[in-house]
């Protein structure tokens, strides 16, 4: 408990520093907030254009699809806000030897590396993504109860953990390869699948790989289904298992990589 309190204290100190820094570079904050807002808009426009030509996609109406896209965006914005910068810099720091700085800090290296920065622009846009979900839900006339909302929030949290795991695994490749530049692209490519409804996967092989083995689809579909259809045990179980599995895998891969780290000459 005391350790947990200690880590919370470290995170709060990092968050406070990040917020002060963000307010010092307000122009930068504005640009990055705009960047994320534009990318959310791109996805919404894509949905709008597609549904100009069809009433449903894999049985999902436009507003149902917006809930799915909004949920996917919400999870990704939270990842961007809380973990992205730290994990992204990890790849460069391993190559340059600056990762020593993380190892010298009083805490678990993965925690210290991934929670160093809180990005305000991601938090701002998580409100936009949440707004999109609320808007779409209101258009559908959905009135989820407190239990459904709590479950939705919990599942979004699980989604953030899964995204975190996938990103840590991708960036941990920096321990093995010379240049990790562009590796983050693998994360973005994988997460493109999270904007697809599960029913769109017609082929059995694609469904097995992208819905059940890789976590991209379950991450967004499970919480979206809670809002649309209420609690569904199979989806909740799949999400819970994926959360535990991907987090454990990320820790193992990171620790294996850490063993290879030999400071500046790594």
């Amino acid at each position: 408990m005391r350790t947990l309190k200690g880590y919370l204290g470290i995170w709060l100190a990092s968050a406070r520093y990040s917020l002060v820094r963000a307010t010092m570079f307000r122009g930068d904050l504005f640009i990055w907030a705009l960047v994320e807002f534009f990318w959310i808009s791109v996805n919404v426009i894509m949905v709008g254009v597609i549904y100009r030509h069809t009433a449903t996609v894999a049985g999902w109406s436009m507003y149902e699809m917006l809930i799915l896209v909004g949920t996917s965006m919400l999870i990704q914005r939270f990842l961007m806000a809380f973990f992205w910068s730290g994990i992204y810099e990890m790849g460069r720091n391993v190559r340059s030897g600056l990762f020593d700085f993380i190892l010298a800090q009083p805490g678990d290296p993965l925690f210290m590396a991934s929670t160093r920065k809180l990005e305000l622009d991601g938090l701002i846009n998580s409100v936009v993504a949440a707004g999109l979900v609320v808007y779409a839900a209101s258009k559908l006339g959905l009135r989820p109860g407190p239990g459904d909302l709590a479950l939705y929030a919990c599942m979004v949290g699980c989604g953030v953990v899964i995204h975190y795991g996938a990103l840590v695994i991708a960036m941990s490749l920096a321990f093995w390869i010379t240049s990790s530049q562009g590796v983050e692209g693998s994360y973005f490519t994988l997460m493109e699948f999270s904007r697809l409804p599960k029913e769109a996967f017609k082929s059995g092989l694609l469904s097995v790989v992208f819905v059940w083995i890789l976590p991209a689809v379950v991450v967004s579909n499970a919480p979206a289904r809670v809002l649309l259809h209420g609690f569904q045990p199979l989806w909740a179980a799949a999400l819970g298992a994926a959360t535990l599995g991907w987090f454990a895998l990320a820790v193992v891969v990171f620790r294996l990589g850490l063993r290879r780290y030999t400071s500046a000459s790594s």
């Binding site: 930068d28 640009i31 990055w32 705009l34 960047v35 534009f38 990318w39 808009s41 791109v42 426009i45 894509m46 254009v49 597609i50 100009r52 030509h53 069809t54 996609v57 894999a58 240049s179 530049q181 562009g182 590796v183 692209g185 693998s186 490519t189 994988l190 493109e192 699948f193 697809l196 409804p197 029913e199 769109a200 996967f201 017609k202 694609l206 992208f210």
Partner: protein
Amino acid sequence: MTKYGHAFVVGLQSNLIYRWNFAVRSLFWFFHLVVVFILWGAVFAGKAGIGGFTFAQTLTYFVVVFILQFFIGAFNEDYQISEDIRNGLINQFLLKPINYFAYRLSVFAAARVVSGFFGLLALLAALPFFRGYLDLPHEGWRVALGLPAMALTAMIQFSIAYCFGLLAFWFLEIQGFVILSMAVENLLGGQIFPLDLLPPGVFNAVRFLPFFYQAYFPAAILTGRQGLDFAVQGLAIQAVWAFLLVCLAEAVWRRGLRHHTAAGG
């Protein structure tokens, strides 16, 4: 061999060092194509066509757009230029009889030869999965007009990236601007969806923007989404944009140099 020829050869060599990065990018491209296949397959399910095109024609459009990006798209030229400025490497070009735009264009061409090769490899690997879904028109004029359209697209893409890179004369960090513009370029360039699916009024407005010519236009010519008259008109508009953007690049370069302070020995 001219000095820019040498720059091209050196560019080829240095880009071959990063062949694994291009190979990985090609792999991402394959997965991206799987997403496109699943999404648009679901959109077209039970329909003969959308916007006047079949699923095969639409998938062909996306494949061509992606391949074009490997051959004529600007990937990280903006970042390289900004790094030259930020690290002071640009100073060496100011002291020599080298046109920085021409030098960068040579390196850009070399990089696209390498990435294009890997793009073709990725296409060959993907072909067994998608062959039954590809539907290319056979009119000869499409190639005759498509090739100059591709050349102009490359110039537009490079000039825009060059201008963004030059922003480093004024700003310490340009990555935000670049990714912001990437969102606009991807959307209005037709990489997210074929632009002819937009409402007609919006489409007619978008076709006068330079982004329209960054991917959609050459792909629409090559894949049969637009006819001859549209292609000829578009080529004229595209040439105007390419000329204006090269002029803009030169103007930004001149203004940027006034801001620039070369330090060190």
